[in-house]
Symmetry: C2
Subunit: 378 residues, 2 copies
């Protein structure tokens, strides 16, 4: 099962990232409800922040003037910013998409905003993350062949423009492979990006409407087409089994808002599957969210208390469940790293049965989304 | 200025409380947005929880079955529960008030609920706090003489019934002095309660509509009428200058939801007065909420970042501001304790000018309430 799974270290100006790694999402410069000190104790190595959200509020100029993203967020570890491409296509009311870029209405105030490779790169240079992303054209799936081809051509052209516009030597830049579920198109995209030359390569345009099986089928060949000596990053993914499939395909980095988003909705991850913490059955339960978990939540609080917090609409319910979920993801990838070293990755499924579960299963819990990784504001 | 100010230690089964002390409010068994670990680092010595809220949700039986309030909340320090009297009169739609008790509609679901001295005591015995309060009749101010006299007579009678019903030797029980702004009525109430005999004495029925000056005028004579060897507790108070006036009168314990409630509303306390953190003027401000403050928020984040968090409706805004405000109150009372020992309490006003400020002043900030300590759900 280990397949192309690999254990690595990615070095950044703000520290090392042991891979495979899971990157919590701090959309607007904050992992919702969780302080940087708590993130550190959770074992988060790197945080993602969203260029689109930060440029809308408070703007990249303000972040730069407040000392750059690390100082702004109070997080002195590695940070990655996306390019804004995904948000433009998922959040904004598009007004104009062309080979030059996009013009759209902000989801906040309806203001007309322009994004193109030069602007996306300049904004990310100002924000100052350790890793910045090329600006890409990210169509939702399913997607017809012509549109996919346009997206790939455009993403490659834009990637070259981003590389050219990139002005800071202390920031790594990753290119993004597009191409939907078309493997040969993705491989061509990868080749073109490698010609341009990036510090790492992301697989984008997945977890945007396709099934787990469709995604898994693409990952192996695409990861294999990327340089072995560069980090590979699957954007916006996902449920434990999605991560496992991608690790087996040879992917190193993952980000997803599921641990915090689901945590706010009272959904707790455990190795044996998710729990809905509003459920009456937890009322008198003195056990922790997950026995054996070493997080602040599980070492201190009962399921009965967490259920009460959600019922009473106390902020601490979302906070404590998010902390546990983030720690769950860190424990999951930490164990994956260990098992890769031991050549025993297949054991992960018996230790974390959730890694073989779809978000919709027979246990009666209410799934947050159909696929477990539907496109959401990252 | 030191007046009757005094420095003391109050011992409970879960630890010592250095007095004067400020007790953060954890209404439904959680200090809103702040974890017990953060509370410990903030320097909180004791937490208050509300009997009324906990009895409505999840009920005292559930709290008891989950191991009692300390284990339920994950807080192993001292806890105090109120009797529910205040909430009945401030929150509930009263249906019937008599010498026997009250029947009312729950603010949550409209259910008919009964509270009387026996029930309030039994519920608090089940919850298991270190300090429990007698059930009292707490009329809002202004209040006519007859109603006040009835409230005092009833509170004394109920206090005796609570004392009699109290079934746990490990819980201290405090009586509550009522009597509005009528000093002789309050002194009579105190005398009667002392005859019954309590482990400590609270001053209730203040901060319910009267001015700071009216409250301050009552505190000295009432505190002086209480035993010197028992803790004196002013319930639900308040702004720094209210606390200072009460300390000078010889009061030892205070609780108030202002630090967290105002924190959630972007109101940050500083020694020089409050800040409204949504204000545009903080946009590029790299300084902490309060320079010299040693809290997690001030040592790590800028005003510009906090403003951004409130603007972007990030949970971390309320969380970080609540943490600072709670630490501000702990720093304030810690300094009061030091200055009492030095016989220099008057210096507190130059070190904390806010202790001489009303909530409504000329600095242009938006006050949360007229008096700074309006009656709110505790």
């Amino acid at each position: 099962m280990d397949g192309a799974a690999r254990r690595g270290v990615f070095r950044t100006p703000h520290g090392r990232v042991e891979t495979p790694a899971f990157i919590p999402v701090g959309t607007a410069g904050s992992v919702k409800g969780v302080t940087p000190e708590q993130l550190r104790r959770i074992g988060a190595q790197m945080i993602l922040a969203n260029t689109y959200h930060l440029q809308r509020r408070p703007t990249a100029d303000v972040v730069r003037d407040l000392g750059g993203l690390h100082r702004f967020m109070g997080w002195d570890g590695p940070i990655l910013t996306d390019s804004g491409g995904y948000q433009v296509f998922s959040l904004a009311k598009l007004s104009k998409l062309s080979d030059e870029g996009v013009e759209f209405r902000s989801h906040i105030d309806g203001a007309l905003v322009r994004l193109d490779p030069y602007i996306a790169t300049e904004v990310q240079n100002k924000l100052g993350a350790d890793v910045i992303m090329a600006f890409d054209d990210c169509p939702p799936l399913p997607c017809d062949e012509d549109r996919l081809r346009i997206a790939v051509d455009r993403s490659v052209r834009w990637a070259a423009q981003c590389r050219e516009a990139h002005s800071r030597g202390d920031q790594a830049m990753f290119g993004i492979v597009q191409g939907g579920l078309d493997i040969s198109l993705r491989q061509r995209c990868a080749e073109e990006l490698i010609k341009i030359g990036f510090d790492g390569y992301a697989i984008g345009g997945l977890s945007v409407g396709e099934t787990h099986e469709q995604m898994a089928a693409v990952l192996g060949p695409v990861a294999a087409s990327l340089p072995a000596d560069r980090p590979r990053y699957l954007m916006g993914v996902g449920m434990p089994r999605d991560i496992l499939a991608a690790v087996v395909a040879g992917v190193d980095l993952f980000d997803c808002s599921l641990p915090t988003r689901n945590g706010r909705n009272s959904w707790a991850f455990t190795a044996d599957g998710p729990l809905k913490m509003r459920n009456e059955k937890h009322r008198l339960d003195q056990t922790p969210l997950e026995s054996g978990c070493d997080c602040e939540t599980c070492t201190r609080f009962s399921r009965g208390y967490i259920r009460h917090l959600f019922n009473a609409q106390e902020m601490l319910g979302p906070i404590l469940t998010s902390i546990h979920n983030l720690r769950f993801y860190q424990r999951f990838v930490a164990r994956i790293r260990e098992l890769i070293c031991e050549g025993q990755l297949a054991r992960i499924v018996s230790e974390f049965p959730i890694a073989a579960m779809a978000a919709v299963d027979g246990t009666g819990f209410q799934p947050v989304s159909d696929t477990g990784c539907k496109p959401v504001p990252r």
